[in-house]
């Protein structure tokens, strides 16, 4: 357990049965409203995120799912103020009531690490190869907490123990190349936790790891979340991972949220044909060998020239004229279940 920083109040229920944890306060920890991100690319605009809205309560786990280019990473990097200068960000993102977008680098630094922290996909490239891992953790600690060297080192070793790195006192003096991929990711998590953040964003944090290590790291993240009362955003391309670990899921396509619901509700009644296509395309061990996978033709749209209609329409088996003409709104169409589709899949499978 951590000993520094006030323990967060949220009572986290880390159950995977899809029940939403009761929010500790009526105010969400993070409230994203109409977030738009576009990039300048020569004389063209890349529309990376187009009007994304969601809220997240303390202790909750949200999975943002999508393919490459769906805007899942860009939208969370926008919250962290980690986008390059070519990006234009509009909209609002309130963290604990305070607006994050439009903050100066100086102001953003107050939040980054201390309030919201991020773990990236590739631990090898995120760690400094010439620095002992212990020093990388103490650096993060001393940036945010008023501790002297000695206390910071104790805290770092404690963090290494918290992320269940074997023999933490010895590992403290090792370099990243002396650790395995799973151990490096544990170090990255320790750094992210250095200042007791209230929100941890894990961007494909387990994608480069083996399945057995992936299961260990996910268990670790959820345990930590329960212990520390953090909120967790897991960004992933893996619906299976979301189904197993998240309370709520947002599916993104071409920079938009296309479906959102509690994990249980989403997987019980998939509404958006895109989500359905994703689910069906995943090879599963339950399927017999050589059974053909249902195929969705085509590729995601070019983000520089988005269609007027539904972006998934060219690939969608349920598409009709309406879909080409008007983009469906993303609305709460059933209690707790949002989707953007004119002709959603229903249980009867009509249409």
């Amino acid at each position: 357990m951590s000993t520094y920083g006030a323990p967060h109040s949220a009572a986290a229920s880390v159950s995977g049965d899809g029940s939403r944890p009761s929010p500790s306060t009526t105010m969400p920890l993070l409230e994203v409203r109409d977030l738009w991100v576009r990039f300048r690319q020569g004389d063209r605009q890349v529309w990376a995120v187009n009007g994304l809205s969601y809220e997240l309560f303390g202790g909750q786990t949200l999975a943002i799912i999508g393919e490459s280019g769906s805007g899942k990473t860009v939208s969370s990097r926008a919250l962290m103020g980690l986008l390059p200068e070519t990006a234009t960000v509009t909209g609002s993102a309130r963290f604990d009531g305070e607006e994050l977008l439009g903050l100066s680098d100086q102001e953003m630094r107050q939040h980054r690490g201390a309030d919201l922290a991020m773990v990236f996909q590739d631990p090898t490239r995120s760690l400094n190869p010439t620095m002992r891992v212990g020093n990388q953790i103490t650096e993060a600690i001393r940036t945010h907490l008023p501790l002297d060297r000695r206390a910071a080192r104790e805290r770092a070793i404690e963090l290494l123990r918290l992320v269940r790195l074997p023999s933490p006192r010895q590992r403290f003096f090792e370099y990243p190349h002396q650790l395995s991929g799973g151990m490096r990711q544990r170090v990255m998590i320790a750094i992210a936790l250095a200042a007791d953040p209230k929100l941890l964003i894990a961007d494909e944090a387990t994608s480069s790891l083996d399945v057995t290590t992936q299961a260990q790291i996910m268990e670790l993240l959820l345990d930590l979340q329960g212990q520390l009362g953090m909120a967790l955003i897991m960004i992933s391309h893996d619906l299976g991972l979301a189904a197993s670990f998240a309370d709520e899921v947002i599916v993104m396509y071409a920079g938009r949220a296309v479906e959102r619901a509690s994990t249980h509700q989403l997987f019980a009644h998939v509404r958006m044909p895109y989500t359905e296509a994703l689910l069906e395309a995943i090879p599963r061990i339950e399927r017999p060998s050589h059974s053909p996978l249902p195929v969705t033709p085509g590729r995601p749209p070019d983000l520089t020239t988005l269609p007027v209609g539904c972006p998934f329409e060219p690939r969608c088996s349920r598409a009709r004229d309406t879909c080409r003409e008007t983009s469906p709104p993303f609305e709460e169409q059933e209690p707790g279940h949002w989707w953007a589709c004119w002709y959603p899949c229903d249980d009867g499978g009509s249409g």
Binding site: D210, Q214, A215, M218, G240, H264, S289, H290
Partner: protein
């Protein structure tokens, strides 16, 4: 299945690499592949699964003699590739092609798609220029790329899925009998991955190909394979028919791997994936004595340290290298009943 005999047979293949420390001093020997034997039967897909560092890619390269294995033999249609060299090896390798993981990295960025696909024909001196062009158009069509549109393009003008189709077309030009696929869809998005997997299946049935399909993804391997081999730290721990291996895994490592897969169905009986084995895989420089999985194995006993388990058959065509395999009596109840493979 065994009517035609094996297409490719690996016998006691060993691959080792010397690690050198400061000043070129021998620091240790990485035992990447240790005494691995298996066969790929004609017309079948053999899947190989294993974690990072299990030696599955090293094994694939050793089969192709690039680099040659330290010892053992690789029989392709009865002739030992290890003993062949020069033109005769090149001639034999015509029939065994490879598709790699990184679709961009395995294509020459400066070449046009048509050149890339034609290259194996040029290297082997096959046909006239016109004949080669015809063949290029033919294989591009087979993998679902219009030769007129895509032939003149360069890799950077293609998406990841299209690049992988080009790599597959290149592997097909010489009309091989076996294609070794090393993580061929791992870098693709799910929907594109499904398209490419179906292409592999389609080519298999149309051209009567055999595959050696390597991946870390157990579900993916199940999707394409007739038989599956599980590798751990350079050793084969289990090999058997896909249906039987996934329904009734014998090796504790296979059981742990299967338990770690997240299911895209939260109400599934399997529930949340479990980290049933803890710790890190041991170093291949200094692997544990006896069974190499024993340090992470929940069933390990004294015998496992003393004696290395041999592959033995426990059910129809299903082999395991374990002293204390998970059998029907010791297994948690499995919903489906046991039947032999179709």
């Amino acid at each position: 299945m065994k009517l035609n005999g094996p297409l490719l047979e690996a016998r006691h293949v060993v691959q080792e690499f010397v690690v050198r420390g400061h000043g070129g001093v021998k620091g240790g020997v990485v035992q990447a592949v240790s005494d691995v034997s298996f066969e790929v039967r004609s017309g079948e897909t053999l899947g190989i699964v294993g974690e990072t560092g299990s030696g599955k890619s090293t094994l694939a390269r050793a089969l192709l003699q690039a680099p040659r294995p330290k010892s053992g033999s690789v029989l392709f249609r009865g002739s030992d590739l290890v003993k062949l060299s020069g033109r005769r090896l090149m001639e034999a390798r015509r029939h065994v092609q490879m598709v790699f993981q990184d679709p961009f990295g395995s294509l020459n960025p400066k070449w046009r798609v048509s050149q890339i696909v034609e290259e194996p024909l040029v290297a082997h001196g096959v046909g006239s220029r016109a004949e080669r062009q015809r063949r290029v158009a033919e294989v591009l069509l087979r993998v679902g790329l219009d030769p007129k549109t895509y032939g003149p393009r360069r890799p950077r003008q293609l998406s990841g899925g299209q690049c992988q189709r080009v790599a597959i077309a290149r592997a097909l030009t010489l009309d091989p009998a076996l294609i070794i696929c090393d993580e061929p869809v791992s870098s693709l998005d799910v929907l594109i991955q499904a398209q490419v997997l179906n292409l592999f299946e389609q080519l298999r049935t149309e051209l009567g190909l055999s595959y050696l399909f390597i991946s870390h993804d157990l579900a993916l391997v199940k999707q394409v394979s007739d038989r599956v081999a599980v590798m751990h730290l350079g050793k084969l721990c289990e090999i058997g028919p896909a249906e039987s291996l996934y329904r009734e895994p014998f090796h504790p490592y296979t059981v742990a791997l299967l338990a770690s897969i997240p299911s895209p169905n939260p109400t599934a009986a399997r529930g949340r994936p479990e980290a049933t084995i803890s710790g890190e895989p041991p170093s291949p420089i200094d692997p544990p004595s006896g069974c190499r999985f024993r340090t992470r194995c929940p069933r390990a006993q004294e015998r496992c340290a003393a004696e290395e388990p041999e592959l033995r058959m426990l059910s129809d065509d299903h082999f395991v290298a374990c002293h204390f395999p998970v059998t029907r009596e010791t297994r948690e109840p499995v919903p489906t009943t046991t039947t032999s493979q179709p």
